[in-house]
């Protein structure tokens, strides 16, 4: 009997990397959106820029998460 440890290890490592990355990207995106939501109340120019930065960070993080998910689907389909 030959146990295929290599495949098992690959599954564990790739799945861990993908899960950690996607979850952290979404969490940081929500932090970015929160920065915008909190500063929106103040209504000054600095707050406006901070909100824009937060939203941009959120968009970037979500795009990156979406790319990872899309790549996973690509691997399955093709």
């Amino acid at each position: 009997m030959q146990i295929d440890w290599a495949i098992l290890a690959v599954v564990a490592v790739v799945a861990a990397a993908a899960a950690v990355t996607v979850v952290l990207l979404v969490a940081f995106a929500l932090v970015g959106l929160s920065a915008g939501a909190e500063r929106r109340v103040r209504g000054d120019g600095v707050a406006f820029r901070a909100r824009g930065t937060g939203t941009a960070l959120a968009v970037l993080c979500l795009l990156a998460a979406g790319l990872i998910v899309g790549y996973g689907l690509f691997l399955i389909i093709f």
Partner: protein, 375 residues
């Protein structure tokens, strides 16, 4: 009995198994989303059903692995496969009745192995493949999924602690919708293929398909439809267990559990390693619960689930072996197995009606003990 009739009976039984696989495993994708309110119960099972159907068409890697790996195709016949399916279906129904998320894959493997062992002896079973592709991944996958989910849940709570609570709750609920959909899709790519593999194996052993063939289109379509309809029916008893009995699940945990499950299942599917989606998803949910606070997990429930897991393969094997022995006696034996199996299944369904769980009461929390109320 005519060989074509037997093949038709086996294919129909395989699709029944696929249906039970669907409603048994709806909880994998949707239990946490339903529990956190990210999705309404009926909408959740509709999405899950549709994505299971779509997932069935994405890959046939696992189907090829099952039909060519675990048993010697030259030593078994459609009657043996039928007996194995009977064992798998009955075990699926028993565990569903008790609300236990046991592995449909292991029930299927157990039933097939028991039935094959009776018909072909030890030589008909490839123990190396069984250990390498089934037992070892089965033992490791829930642990790996739990560890990954626990880590990402801890990290997610740490990062999200700096964010607005309302935004976090809403954001992760939206994320849950996506991640739950991904699990449903992954489930379709993984589990529908098991039935495709069984049907393909039946056609090969009956001489209707060349050895090593991929599943024909009608097999892919019917397996996809069966698992999708089963999923839509919703295994509410198991959804209740995983959604409200494991831990008090927050949207963050629902998202991390489902994301972990998706990552593990899609990776294993891509590599042609048939993992149990139930074990992966259950491990992820427990890990996500432990990632917030170890004490928040109901470990007694975990113990019962692990107990059911350890009995799944041997119990299904025993039933499969008994059914195979009986069916091998001839047409009468085959009919007795079919009628007996149907009678037991009907009995389990009737018993479940005594304490029905549905979309309307799936999120009901358990009543506190009488002593607590009196205090």
């Amino acid at each position: 009995m005519d060989a074509v009739v037997i093949v038709v009976v086996v294919v129909a039984t395989a699709l029944v198994f696929d249906y039970t696989n669907g409603f048994h495993d709806t909880a994998n994708a949707m239990a946490t989303s339903i529990a956190t309110g990210a999705l309404r119960p009926k909408l959740a099972v509709t999405i899950a059903g549709a994505l299971n159907l779509a997932g069935a068409f994405l890959s046939v890697e696992v189907a090829k692995t099952i039909s060519g790996g675990l048993v010697d195709e030259t030593l078994i016949n459609p009657v043996v496969i039928f007996a194995g399916l009977v064992g798998a279906i009955l075990w699926n129904l028993v565990t569903w009745f008790f609300g236990l998320p046991s592995s449909s894959s292991h029930a299927l493997f157990g039933g097939l192995i028991g039935a094959t062992w009776v018909a072909g002896g030890n030589d008909a079973i490839r123990f190396g493949a069984l250990l390498n592709k089934v037992i070892l991944p089965a033992a490791l996958s829930p642990v790996v999924a739990a560890l990954i989910a626990m880590t990402v849940t801890y990290l997610a709570f740490r990062v999200a602690a700096r964010a607005d609570r309302g935004v976090v709750s809403r954001g992760f609920k939206v994320g849950q919708t996506v991640s739950a959909s991904m699990v449903a899709l992954a489930h379709g790519t993984n589990d529908a293929q098991k039935t495709m593999g069984v049907i393909t194996l039946t056609l090969i052993t009956a001489g209707m398909l060349a050895p090593g063939s991929a599943p024909p289109f009608w097999v892919v379509l019917s397996a996809g439809l069966a698992i999708a309809i089963g999923t839509y029916m919703g295994g509410w008893r198991i959804i209740r267990t995983l959604g409200t009995r494991v831990s008090d699940i927050h949207p963050v945990q629902g998202f991390t559990a489902e994301t972990t499950s998706t990552a593990v299942i899609l990776t294993s599917t891509h590599l042609g390693l048939p993992l149990s989606t139930t074990q992966v998803c259950t491990g992820s949910i427990f890990g996500a619960g432990a990632g917030r606070r170890l004490a928040s997990v109901h470990w007694g429930v975990a113990g019962r689930i692990v107990l059911a897991w350890s009995f799944t393969l041997p119990a299904a094997a025993v039933v499969g072996a008994a059914a195979s022995w009986l069916a091998a006696t001839g047409t009468v034996g085959l009919i007795v197995v079919a009628l007996g199996g149907s009678a037991v299944a009907s009995g389990i369904y009737a018993a479940s009606r005594q304490s029905a769980v549905s979309a309307s009461n799936v999120n009901d929390v358990p009543r506190p003990p009488a002593a607590d109320i009196a205090a």
